[in-house]
Amino acid sequence: MQISGRFIDDFKTDRKGITPPLPAVLRLVPIGFYCAIAVAILLSAVFLLQYRIATQKRDGHRAQAGTLATQTANTLSERTALEVQIKKAINLQTWVSGSRPLQPLVVEISRSMGPKANILDLSLVRDEKAPAQVALSLKIGTDSVRQLDTTLEKIASQQYRAFSPTQTLGQGELDYRATLVRQGTKQTSPADPVQ
């Protein structure tokens, strides 16, 4: 059977128009390409893994930092509330320390009077700016200065110290003025007002 020449390639004759081969060293290019694909996939996988781990760490740290910041804010508000309470306590303590009962002092002064002495006028006035200081004005009907010593001993027994005392004796009357300042511990409870 004869085949038409139209359907058969001519292998013996060089084809025209075929380009010459590239240099042999450039055969490394496709090899490099495949290697690059493999390395790129491997490294990208590693980097993506690191990326995911880092993202989780970042989110975890941020969440923890947020929790800590909330706790810090709570602690700060607790401190602020405590400072307010402390300030209030100091203010109330200032009031209480300037409100020590005067009745025991009056009673002691009255009891200190001897048989030949009597109180003509007794005045105890707190200083407006320093209420712990009490201005004492005492007029005693007596001829003896010793009566005043007894009274001052009684005042001292109530833990008061007299400052800037002045005394005038004349015509059966003894006039004594001083500023009394209480010495001693602070009052801590309403149950022990004369502590």
Binding site: P21, L22, L26, V29, P30, G32, F33, A36, A40, L43, S44, F47, L48, Y51, A54, T55, K57, R58, H61, Q64, A65, L68, Q71, T72, T75, E78, R79, L82, E83, Q85, I86, K88, A89, I90, N91, L92, Q93, T94, W95, V96, S99, P101, L102, Q103, P104, V107, S110, I119, D121, L122, S123, L124, V125, R126, K129, P131, T188, S189, P190, P193
Partner: protein, 178 residues
């Protein structure tokens, strides 16, 4: 340039794109690790701040325990009279209960200077004339039962009748700021 050269260039470009993509992914990873480190540093700082703040609060609590105890004990006494009317009624009741001869009584509101917690005081100007013991017992009872009341002034002198004393007293009931 023939098609082989073009193919070579395309393959070269593909390699370059692969490298660039890998470098981009690496850049993302590096950036994220940097952010993670920053977040860790911020967390450490927040933790240190919390520890410092807690230590300060703890120290403050330790230092102020006496004051806080004082406040807990005394505050109810201060809060028991929170209005002018309540204080005035209380003073009036105390005077009535005393059965002393009350010559005069007057009430007045006054501001308190230098005390941020106590805004004002209800001032009672009282004058009595009675037996010495009854007068001083009443004064002592008031000071004991109303520990926040401040006796600002007390004056004793002879009364108009024998064996009686005249007592003029100024009492102050503090009213807390609201």
């Amino acid at each position: 340039m023939n098609n082989k050269h073009i193919a070579l260039v395309i393959v070269g470009l593909a390699i370059a794109i692969l490298i660039q993509t890998t470098l981009w992914v690496q850049g993302l990873s590096t950036k994220m690790r940097s952010q993670a480190e920053s977040a860790e540093a911020a967390e450490n700082q927040a933790n240190a701040e919390l520890i410092r703040e807690k230590a300060q609060v703890s120290e403050l609590k330790r230092q102020s325990s006496d004051l806080i105890d004082f406040l807990q004990v005394w505050l109810p006494y201060f809060e028991s009279f929170d209005t002018q009317q309540a204080a005035e009624i209380n003073f009036t009741m105390k005077v009535k209960e005393s059965n002393l001869l009350n010559l005069s009584q007057r009430f007045d509101m006054a501001p308190v200077v230098g005390n941020e917690s106590i805004g004002s005081v209800m001032r009672a100007f009282l004058t009595f004339e009675d037996d010495y013991a009854r007068l001083l017992n009443w004064l002592g009872t008031v000071e004991k039962n109303m520990p926040t009341v401040r006796v600002t002034s007390v004056r004793l002198n002879k009364g108009s009748r024998p064996n009686e004393l005249r007592m003029e007293a100024i009492l102050e009931q503090p009213l807390l700021k609201k």
